[in-house]
Amino acid sequence: MFLIHCPYCEEHREEEEFHAAGQAHLPRPLDPDSMTDEQWGDYLFYRKNTRGEYRELWVHAAGCGKYFNVSRNTQTYEIYATYKTGEVLESTSQMSVGPTGSVLNYRTADKEGS
């Protein structure tokens, strides 16, 4: 059960309020009609299966209803960052990480958020 920071609500909330919606940063091609079947198939069906840091789209389904991006480690399940759609996360090296490598201390984040 993840504890996920909704970048719109600016709060950590329980995973039960969210749904995962697949790989993030997959813009729909602007001119689908000019694409070959192979290119279109790649866009539609091919997804990364990364071991390690991975960018996902989640939605705060039982909250604000907003879609947002999550940088998550698929091996350790750490969440490094969450950020709004349209925003860019350059690097995960600047994450504020707790004493044992976790960024999940809800107290800390609440303070940062307010």
């Binding site: 059960m1 993840f2 504890l3 329980e14 749904h19 919606a21 813009p27 729909r28 001119d31 689908p32 009609d33 694409m35 079947d37 279109w40 198939g41 539609l44 789209l57 939605v59 389904a61 209803g65 907003k66 879609y67 480690n73 091996q75 350790t76 399940y77 750490e78 969440i79 759609t85 349209g86 707790g98 004493p99 044992t100 490598g101 976790s102 999940l104 201390n105 809800y106 107290r107 800390t108 303070k111």
Partner: protein
């Protein structure tokens, strides 16, 4: 009630004094039909031992007699069935965990006819040598076809307990909790951690599986800060209790440690009180905890040593002897032999001697133990046999003696003559295994410590500390200090510290101090004079009857991974999950493979730490609370009318309305004819409705629907088909233009939520520049569809709007009042007949519905349900997405090319998908009508179509039936199906061979069976 003297006779192993039991409150209970007595404060196990009950079960595979071996959750043998009535039966209760209550009824889970005389035991004695690992697979899998037959008998013989045959009578619930610091375990380390964290100002939750706090101190004779250990515990508990920031839970096992410091606690609230929970109380509660920091102070489990016949009742782990003597005033025998590889094994001999019973000898595998423990034993005059091993226990249903022999310094073989010691109890200690289970639940792998000869918690990404015995601390002083440090670190990490008491908390002083100890010897399996495979059975995992020889054989058969060994031998399975046997088993595997234990590694520990009841997992989510139910505003009316209901997602929809003793078939025939010939009404409130507004709403619709929306004027409706970007049909429905920038979209009942998030995800992530807003209004509107030739006459009686054929044309909508209530009227049809869908605010739904029936009496207004709706729509060839489509059909496949407009400027969702190469084939499966040659022949939905019924099996299948009904109006069966190349084969015949050997012949035809010229709906 028995007299005191009878009590005494019965409880022959009970000491006259001491223990944390209430002698003023005797308790009666029964075991295997025998009435017995114990005291308040007893566990079921301590009471059984007090009464001298040796055999509590029979082993799973060999039927060997088994007795109580430990005093905690690691117990492999004393697994019992509890419950006095069928509804309160609980299988697999550990006697060591279950507190005694008046009237407790316990039974062994296996053993027939009873545990003292067991038929399987005889078989085990005869066939035992043959039942090697993989025995069942090797023996019964041939011939393979017979496995199902054998399996029934094998399972019956192998079962552990039985589940109740009637519903549980008790209640269970769930509770959410939040804490800055969650401390797991309330032994010395956990208590200190909680105290330290609480003094820092943190909100602390501390939970322990035991009936009272104290952990190992419950049976310790040490003093802390000069006080008896349990007095010190009481003082700490009082301090914690006085702090409003601290929550303490007893009988609460932290069973799961999940991601991001989410923990689940199973609290047994009333299991210690009675067979049933007292009225109004939940029997068990699941606490779902989200913690800032976690301190694991889960302690350690003592490992028994493995020797021949070590499963005889009377063989126990050393610390459990101290536990029973000091906590329960029960000495489980008369003559004790101790075998140990370390100092901690000595304590039980001292306690035993203090209780006034005979210690025959302490057998120490170490050649020259020179610690304080050995000195103390020698001072007390206890015989210590150094450099020796207990190699075999003797006895039938209880230990009667022990065979002892000198061994070499690595404990791999016997070096001299054996001798027999007479005894009735054997205590063994092979060291301590930290309870690392929880630390592994989030993916962290434990690390082997050669210093303590056990696995300790590894690194983690969670904000978690471990303290005390679980992290490898061995002396009480170190444990206490470790607890203080962990509590401080954990509190600091939550930023909750610094609020209150910032003074350093002094570490309490334990009486044992830093006394010299002698290093433990790494020994797990004690040698025998015979090789492992020939000696009497040396049990590693008691619950699964896994022996040392079995594990060695498994490695010879080529199983090298510890995970494979586990699955082939069943080592570490079962209700105890190998808490006593795992490390010994891994050591034997490592030895057999010439590896170290660190190299062999452990199996993966997963939640739950101990078994939990289904009740506590389910909580209150049973019966009507299992899943939310959704009712339309007219639900009460449907109930009064005697409707049968159909579940559509969470909705309860009227399925049909039987009159008198009508069958379903009779009812839907009546409903269909009433609608086609007069007027019927359907409660369509469950239809998904999305209110769409904004200046770009029209553009947005054009992007998500396959057809054109640019020219739809206010007051008009349009059917829309929605595709996913792969070109497959996803949903359909009618959308009305209410105003230039305001639309009312309808979706299928089941697709409402999916479509809503579909619109949102495209708006939010792809086209945020479009100014459009979506609002799910499904529940805001009550929708009633009146349909039939008399529909207009009925509506005219109730509305102020002009609904004549010229004023409100087909596919138009208007705002008006109906029965005096503001309404939206859509002239759309899902039946092919004249039809109006009336929408009113949900809370007016029932009133308007009733008004319709009042006004409709003269027209014989007939309510119809979803079953009739399905037939009526199929007569007209209207599809149901998800029934006539399945995610592999495009609009063109279902002959809906008229709803696809490619000239739109934006490449709408599904357009490019529909242009993929395969979709340009003209012989794909198409949705077509199927007219059976025999008008009454019933084509089952799902029946497969072939072109040549004479073709040998396997036949070439060319499609299947998607919808099939009896049309009352047409007086024949009608059907639709997806048939390969169907649209190009109108008039051809296809055949449907059925399971019973018959074949139904049908002609491919249009899906529109009724009124192909659309006259009826346009009147």
């Amino acid at each position: 009630m028995l007299s005191q003297s009878q009590l005494k006779i019965q409880q022959r192993n009970r000491l006259d004094n001491g223990g944390r039991i209430n002698r003023g409150k005797p308790i009666t209970f029964s075991f295997d039909g025998r009435p017995l007595m114990g005291f308040e404060g007893d566990t079921l196990a301590s009471a059984l031992l007090a009464n001298g009950v040796d055999v509590v079960g029979r082993s799973f595979k060999y039927g060997r007699p088994r007795g109580i071996m430990t005093a905690g959750v690691e117990e492999p043998n004393a697994v019992l069935q509890i419950g006095s009535t069928e509804a309160t039966q609980i299988p697999n209760i550990k006697a060591t965990e279950q507190m005694l209550y008046n009237g407790l009824v316990a039974k062994p889970v296996n053993g027939w006819p009873n545990v003292d005389f067991d038929v399987m035991g005889l078989l085990g004695r005869v066939g035992g040598d043959l039942m090697t690992p993989g025995f069942y697979y090797k023996t019964f899998m041939w011939p393979k076809s017979r496995w199902e037959t054998y399996e029934k008998f094998i399972r019956k013989a192998a079962g552990l307990g039985s589940s109740p045959a009637v519903p549980d009578v008790d209640r269970y619930d769930h509770m959410n909790r939040h804490a800055d610091v969650m401390v797991v375990g309330a032994g010395p380390a956990g208590l200190m951690a909680a105290l330290r964290a609480a003094k820092s100002g943190a909100r602390v939750l501390i939970a322990d599986e035991g009936s009272e706090f104290g952990g190992s101190l419950l049976f310790s004779k040490e003093t802390i800060d000069g006080k008896p250990a349990m007095q010190w515990v009481a003082d700490v508990v009082e301090q914690l209790g006085a702090n409003p920031q601290v929550t303490m839970l007893t009988r609460a096992t932290v069973n799961g440690y999940h991601d991001h410091n989410f923990l689940t606690i199973s609290e047994r609230r009333t299991d210690h009180l009675n067979d049933r929970a007292p009225s109004g109380q939940a029997r068990q509660r699941m606490h779902k905890v989200r913690a800032g920091s976690v301190v694991l102070a889960t302690g350690a489990h003592e490992r028994p040593l493995v020797f021949a016949n070590n499963d005889l009742p009377g063989c126990m782990v050393a610390s459990s002897i101290s536990h029973y003597i000091n906590r329960f005033a029960v000495v489980p025998g008369n003559k004790l032999v101790v075998v140990t590889s370390n100092d901690s094994g000595y304590q039980c001999a001292l306690d035993w001697a203090d209780a006034g019973r005979e210690v025959v000898a302490i057998i120490d595998t170490r050649a020259a133990p020179d610690g304080v423990a050995t000195e103390l034993a020698l001072e007390r005059g206890i015989k210590v046999m150094k450099g020796s091993a207990l190699i075999e226990a003797r006895g039938k249903k209880r230990v009667q003696g022990a065979i002892v022999a000198p061994i070499n310094t690595s404990a791999t073989f016997v070096t001299g003559d054996t001798q027999h010691l007479t005894c009735d109890t054997i205590a063994s200690s092979g060291g301590w295994s930290p309870a690392v289970h929880l630390s592994c639940h989030t993916g962290s792998r434990p690390v082997w410590s050669s210093e303590i000869l056990g696995f300790v918690p590894g690194t983690t990404t969670e904000q978690r500390w471990s303290a005390g015995a679980v992290s490898g601390q061995q002396s009480l002083s170190d444990v206490l200090a470790d607890g203080v440090k962990a509590g401080q670190d954990a509190a600091n990490a939550t930023h909750a510290s610094g609020k209150a008491d910032i003074d350093d908390l002094p570490v309490p002083i334990a009486s044992s101090g830093n006394q010299t100890h002698c290093d433990a010897m790494p020994v797990y399996l004690l040698p025998h004079t015979k090789p492992c495979s020939r000696s009497p059975k040396q049990f590693v995992d008691m619950q699964n009857d896994v022996t040392a020889a079995g594990i060695e054989m498994t490695t010879r058969e080529g199983f090298e991974s510890i995970e494979h060994v586990k699955r082939y031998t069943a080592l570490g399975f079962g209700t105890d999950q190998g808490k006593t046997g795992n490390i010994n088993g891994m050591a034997i595997v490592a030895n057999a493979l010439g590896k170290t234990i660190a190299q062999t590694g452990t199996t993966v520990f997963r939640p739950n730490y101990t078994p939990v009841s289904f009740g506590v997992v389910t909580g209150a989510h049973t019966g009507p609370l299992f899943d939310p139910q959704r009712f339309t505003p007219m639900h009460e009316w449907h109930l009064d009318r005697g409707a049968e209901f159909e579940n559509v997602g969470q909705w309860k929809r009227p399925w049909y309305y039987p009159v008198g003793d009508e069958t379903m078939d009779q009812a839907i025939v009546r409903e269909q004819l009433a609608m086609r010939q007069g007027v019927g009404v359907l409660d369509a409130s469950t239809l998904g409705k999305i209110d769409i507004q904004g200046k770009d709403a029209r553009e947005f619709l054009a992007r998500v629907y396959t057809n054109a929306w640019a020219k739809l004027k206010p007051g008009f409706c349009r059917y829309g088909l929605m595709c996913s970007d792969d070109g497959m049909v996803m949903d359909d429905g009618v959308t009305a233009c209410l105003a230039e920038n305001h639309f009312h979209m309808t979706t299928t009942t089941g697709g409402a939520a999916r479509v809503m998030s579909w619109l949102e995800i495209y708006h939010q992530t792809e086209w945020p520049e479009l100014e459009v807003f979506f609002n799910s209004v499904t529940d805001h509107w009550a929708t009633m569809a009146i349909a039939g030739p008399d529909a207009r006459k009925l509506l005219e009686k109730l509305t102020d709007a002009d609904v004549s054929a010229d004023s409100l044309k087909f596919m138009q909508c208007t705002e008006a009042t109906v029965a005096g209530i503001p309404a939206r009227i859509f002239r759309i049809s899902f039946t092919g007949d004249l039809s109006f869908e009336i929408n009113v605010a949900a809370h007016y739904g029932l009133a308007v519905w009733k008004a319709l029936f009042e006004a409709g009496e003269e027209f014989n207004l007939t309510p119809y349900g979803t079953e009739s709706m399905h037939v009526l729509r199929a007569e007209k060839g209207f599809i149901i997405v998800g029934q006539d489509t399945d995610g592999s059909v495009t609009p063109l496949d279902i002959n809906h090319g008229w709803a696809v407009v490619d000239s739109k400027p934006f490449s709408y969702l599904g357009k490019r998908g529909m242009k993929r190469n395969d979709f340009l084939r003209t012989d794909r499966k198409h949705l077509v009508g199927l007219r059976t040659v025999d008008s009454q022949a019933e084509l089952p939905e799902g029946a497969q179509a072939v072109r040549d019924p004479a073709e040998p099996i396997p036949m070439t299948m060319v499609g299947h039936v998607t919808s099939s009904y009896y049309s009352a109006f047409l007086k024949r069966r009608i059907a639709m199906g997806l048939i390969k190349d169907g649209l190009n084969r109108m008039g051809e015949t296809v055949f449907f061979p059925l399971r019973d050997g018959s074949v139904i012949e049908a002609e491919i035809c249009s899906t529109v069976f009724l009124d192909p010229d659309n006259q009826r709906q346009k009147v």
